[in-house]
Amino acid sequence: MKFIEIRALHEWLDRLAQEMTLIAPTAVGPQEKAPGSRNPAAQGQQVFYRQVEGAAQIAWDFTRTALSAREHFMPKTETLFTIETGPDGKAVLHETKLEQPRVFFGIRPCDARGLRVLDAVMLGQEPADVYYAQRRENTTLVGLACPQMWEDCFCNSVGGAPDAADDVDILLIQVEGGFAVQVVTEKGERLATGMGLQEVEGLELPQPKLNEQFALPTQQQWLASFNDVYWQRVGDRCLSCRICSYVCPTCRCFDVRDETVVTPQGERIVRRVRAWDSCQGVNYRVQAGGANPRANLEQRLRNRFYCKYYYVPIDYAADGCVGCGRCVTACPVNIDIREVLQDLARREPA
Amino acid sequence: MSEEIRIGVYICQCGINIAATVDVAEVVEFARQLPNVVVARDYKYTCSEPGQEQIKHDIRELGVNRVVVASCTPRMHEVTFQRVLDEAGINPYYFSMANIREHVSWVTRDKSQATEKAKHLVKSAVDRVRWQEPLFPRTERVIDKALVVGGGIAGIQAALTIADAGYKVYLVEKEPSIGGHMAQLNKTFPTLDCST
């Protein structure tokens, strides 16, 4: 078993940050917060995956980040290209340049697993999305196993595990004095060469504490529940905000618009913008002419659950939900996907 | 999608009122480059008969369907040019005006600054006219009865005039009697005749 001491790891990370883009969990936001507020987001700084300049900025002691790893592969907003007027008065198109090679350090196994869904959607059919493809290609994932399952996590119920190495290039598992290192892929191998790994015999890996596992609804149960009044009852509470889909590692809906903007120099340019969208937004699914098959709040809410557990598995043969539990924690009205799943699973198959 | 937007831009020299401070030719050249502009011209007095005819001509011959005139204040000639559009068969609300006389040439000394500002205002008007929509006035019936409030001499005079013309008048007086101040007057100047 390979091993790296904490100090060596820090030194390696500091070096990496010099050479390429290093993304890692880091605490963001002002430290002073409303003490004891009921809003979990207002309890002090929150941890995000952000570009860091060295190991000192990395948050080591975190549960899960406020936003998933998705924002680094499918940014919240990206300009795909711009059009401006050239010196001869003709339109010139500038395609957006993409990032340098990146190391994504500290990604949780569930977040990495979420990329499977994004891969399936963005790369799984022709033409592949070049922006996504390049980011994916350029990035080496160094996972950091969860020492335990956190409050609201349920990865073990959806086929994952807090220390799963399936979707990362390298996985680090914290042990006494440092980290056990599993090099998973060739890409990981290339990166690991510079790490200065030691080989330690008989290293014992800790067993992460798991949350109670529960059974998921069957396809029949999903099918039979589509028109159930149950969705109205859950929807009663829903605020129709977008928190659940924006914190989710597997949500990938986006909107594209061409916008005209004026530069500080007073020139007008047109840019094509891609930004996250959410099935929970009121204008999601509005079609030209005004028709909207998801006009009602409960229809949109239902869509989110079906998307994860019915549409994605069928359309992309991937698990739509990785059980990270972010939506559970963040939902301001306590719509708990685990509760929904268990409610449905309890039903008699039609 | 609706018809293609074809904008005609007319820069007025206003004799030398505009031309002395604004490089009209440069503004015309600038306007010509703007999207959807099919024709840009300058003229000594756009509001004059030949100036108006030019616009009508362009509407008929070049298919211009939106018009921008850069000249004096719209408070002066907006109605004039709207009528030109109407006469040429396009909706008068497809018209926009840039005030490059009162707001530019008359208040700016530096010619290049004035020309720059004129371009801004023309650009603004062209952008605006692209969004303008045809509008149509409508008519309403007038009830043939009048209300006169106050039964002093003014109210009485107005009521009698209207009543004599054959229309019904309601004369409302706050006091128990009509007459107002006038009834209190004894003699009126300068003829010193009786008032009641």
Partner: protein, 287 residues
């Protein structure tokens, strides 16, 4: 108090006086959340204590529409704290809720508590313990000293130099992810299409950048002028922990100061921003 609420809820549902009672319940993981009770047998789910800080009035706007065309608007009972009652008054003033379609279960409010049991900040500056309007009042008004809200939180920001204020807000707005939870949780944000989400990007586009976010938050706050009742729902739901109440409270403070002490939701008077001058204004800053 909770027994009063349950008994009342049961009575209303049994009589068929209301279709649904909106109150609070404890979810399976122990979190307090809004409860929608349709059956008299389910009223035992209802609870009320210092954790029930959500503003349930938010839900009334959407219930004010008939389910199907031609159907009657259903009557809903709702548990309303004094702060929520002010929101409700704004909704009534703005025709978003019909008074006869809502049964107001007022609660004499003990004040809400934080997770650690300390009183919520906003409750320490609240001077109402009984809602301004209700159909039935549950609970005894607690003896709480009257506190005058001095807006000390807002004053702290006001006291910062301009550049620090800008830096502060840029830092906060940077985290905003435009999830619109603030807007959705706000009882007085009820536009059918938000200006920030227009299809044609007239004011702002879809991008998640500072100008768009600044526009959204400034305009949202501005639209709340004379309407925000400082219920704090926006801040309570923000997943990024942005102190949104500081913006809304700033507006509320200025409206009161400039427009004759106006406070939203305390009367039937509409927001002074849409009415003529009354002569009581203290607007000192023309230019």
């Amino acid at each position: 108090m909770i027994e009063d609420i349950r008994a009342l809820a049961r009575e209303l549902l049994e009589k068929g006086a209301v279709e649904c009672v909106i109150g609070y319940e404890v979810g399976p993981t122990g979190r307090v959340r809004p409860a929608f009770v349709y059956e008299p047998g389910e009223v035992e789910r209802l609870i009320f204590d210092g954790r029930c800080d959500q503003n349930l009035v938010t839900y009334l706007t959407r219930r004010n529409k008939p389910r199907k065309k031609g159907e009657e608007v259903p009557t809903t009972a709702v548990v309303v704290k004094p702060c929520d009652a002010r929101s409700l008054r704004v909704l009534l003033n703005e025709h978003q809720v019909q008074r006869d379609k809502v049964y107001i279960i007022g609660v004499a409010c003990p004040g809400m508590q934080n997770a650690d049991g300390t009183p919520e900040l906003r409750c320490t500056r609240c001077d109402q313990r009984v809602p301004l309007l209700y159909d039935a009042l549950c609970g005894e008004p607690p003896e709480v000293p009257t506190v005058r809200d001095a807006y000390e939180d807002v004053q702290q920001i006001e006291a910062l130099p301009l550049e620090e204020r800008l830096a502060y807000w840029l830092g906060e707005l940077d985290r905003c992810i435009r999830c619109y939870a603030c807007r959705q949780a706000c009882p007085t944000c009820f536009c059918s299409v938000c200006e920030a989400e227009r299809d044609d990007s007239l004011w702002v586009g879809i991008a998640d950048r500072i100008p768009e976010k600044a526009f959204f938050h400034i305009i949202r706050a501005f639209h709340q002028a004379g309407r925000c009742t400082e219920c704090n729902a926006c801040e309570a739901v923000c997943p990024m922990g942005i102190p949104l109440s500081l913006i809304n409270r700033k507006i509320a403070k200025d409206v009161a100061q400039m427009m004759g002490g106006y406070r939203a939701g305390e009367s039937d008077e509409p927001t002074p921003l849409v009415t003529m001058l009354t002569g009581e204004e203290a607007i000192d800053e023309i230019h």
